[in-house]
């Protein structure tokens, strides 16, 4: 006798397939997310470094940019004169931050001196700016060695060690200012 089983109407099978498909999608998505490389965690800055974007006051940010820009002009003057220009000569050139203009007082009223030339600073020049108002902007050192500018900061009205070399500055609590270039986020 032929017997045929007729299943009752229902959606169990379809439901099962839908649930299996959903599970497969969820599993593959979880796998994809898990395998995706996490962004590299940024290493914290060394203790003797300070970030120009996040670690400086408004006045310090302005001074730092001025000192970076001053490097090329100082190098050109040095080549023309055959010696390192004095802070007074740089002020006469209206070169910020050496120029004693009304903005200088608003940014700490730094007193600039030539802090070393020649062998002392590795064939370069160094200028020290002692702040009259460290709460606005700390004291600064600009060091030029022919390969660019190194700028150091200490939030105190303090003369830097002589000669202002890395080791001596770090030991005295000075921090080197660093900046990073970040291209447009939608490029």
């Amino acid at each position: 006798m032929h017997r045929q089983i007729v299943r009752r109407a229902g959606a169990e099978r379809e439901t099962l397939w839908v649930l299996l498909a959903a599970g497969a999608i969820l599993a593959s998505a979880t796998l994809a997310v898990g395998l995706r490389a996490a962004p590299d965690a940024e290493a914290p800055l060394a203790a003797h470094l300070i970030d120009s974007r996040t670690g400086l006051t408004a006045a310090e940010q302005g001074l730092y940019a001025d000192l970076k820009a001053a490097g090329e002009e100082i190098a050109a003057l040095r080549e023309a004169q055959g010696r390192a220009p004095t802070p007074e000569e740089l002020a006469a050139e209206a070169l910020p931050p050496f120029a004693a203009d009304p903005s200088a007082a608003a940014r700490g009223g730094h007193a600039w001196t030539l802090a070393g030339t020649g062998d002392e600073t590795g064939d370069g020049i160094a200028y020290a700016g002692v702040s009259a108002a460290p709460e606005l902007a700390g004291s600064l050192v600009l060091r030029l060695d022919g390969h660019g500018a190194a700028i150091w900061l200490k939030r105190a009205a303090e003369v830097p060690p002589a000669p202002p070399e890395d080791t001596a500055l770090t030991a005295a609590g000075w921090k080197r200012i660093v900046s990073t270039f970040t291209a447009g986020v939608t490029r």
């Binding site: 120009s52 974007r53 996040t54 006051t57 408004a58 006045a59 940010q61 302005g62 730092y64 940019a65 001025d66 970076k68 820009a69 090329e72 002009e73 050109a76 050139e93 209206a94 070169l95 910020p96 120029a99 203009d101 009304p102 903005s103 200088a104 007082a105 608003a106 940014r107 700490g108 606005l136 902007a137 900046s179 990073t180 270039f181 970040t182 291209a183 447009g184 986020v185 939608t186 490029r187």
Partner: protein, 310 residues
Amino acid sequence: MSLFSNRRPNRRLILAGALAAAAMPVCAVAAPAGRRRFGVTLHPYYSYVANIVGDAAEVVPIIPAGFNPHAYEPRPEDIQRIGGLDAIVLNGIGHDDFAGRMIAASAKPSLPVVESNADVPLLPAAGMAARAAGKVVNPHSFLSITNSVLQVATIARELGRLDPANAATYAANARAYSRRLRQLRADALAKLATAGTASLRVATIHGAYDYLLREFGLEVSAVVEPAHGIEPSPAQLAETIATMRKLDVQVIFSELNFPSAYVETIRRETGIRLYAFSHISHGDYAADLFEREMARNLDTLVLAMAEAAP
């Protein structure tokens, strides 16, 4: 470190018509033999490059004058213009991000790019643009004398690498131009009889002026516009006015050529003095445009400081 970069093709779709047009042969008028053609995207960069190269090269704006770079969308004829360039000078930090897509779609996807801001100490974006823990930067580095000097030096150095025959000319021109820019700042400050107060509390309508204000030791207390060209909602406006009162803001800097009804509301409600800066993004491209507009901006800033002084 070389600042030239070859961009990865952007995945964002560009209009098929633009792609087709860009693929067509470039019909640009040939420059004199040996005379390079350098592209720029924004008005300040036209002024920088024009002053650096003088007559030794041609400066080609890839966006026609009259377009607002904040709302610019690439057009086929502009993409086509890129095919006739030897290099392009970019702001590169958010004000001309459209250029990457245009270069990728052009006949010269490997066009050398000069990153003008590579040596500029960048500031975090302000207002609503501020995110990613300071990784999104304020792209208005050109609204500053010092940062312009830094960019001019970078551009001259990199163009000199591309065009060694004229490298010395570019370097000399850049130095002369930088001295003129510094003199603008000195002349403006000479008009300020007394030292500007570092405690001047400033609000800006558009978060574009941080770099300029840093040169004077000033910090922005509040930014009014959520994003450039987007007016605040009534609730945001009320909150902004309350914030300004709380911070005892003395001066508001708005933007020329963008008159907004709500700015007058703020001024009326708070009684704070209002001054307008130029964004240097309007008018014809000209070698002296940056100097003219920045001289006006510096005069405006000095006037605001003088009038706010006790």
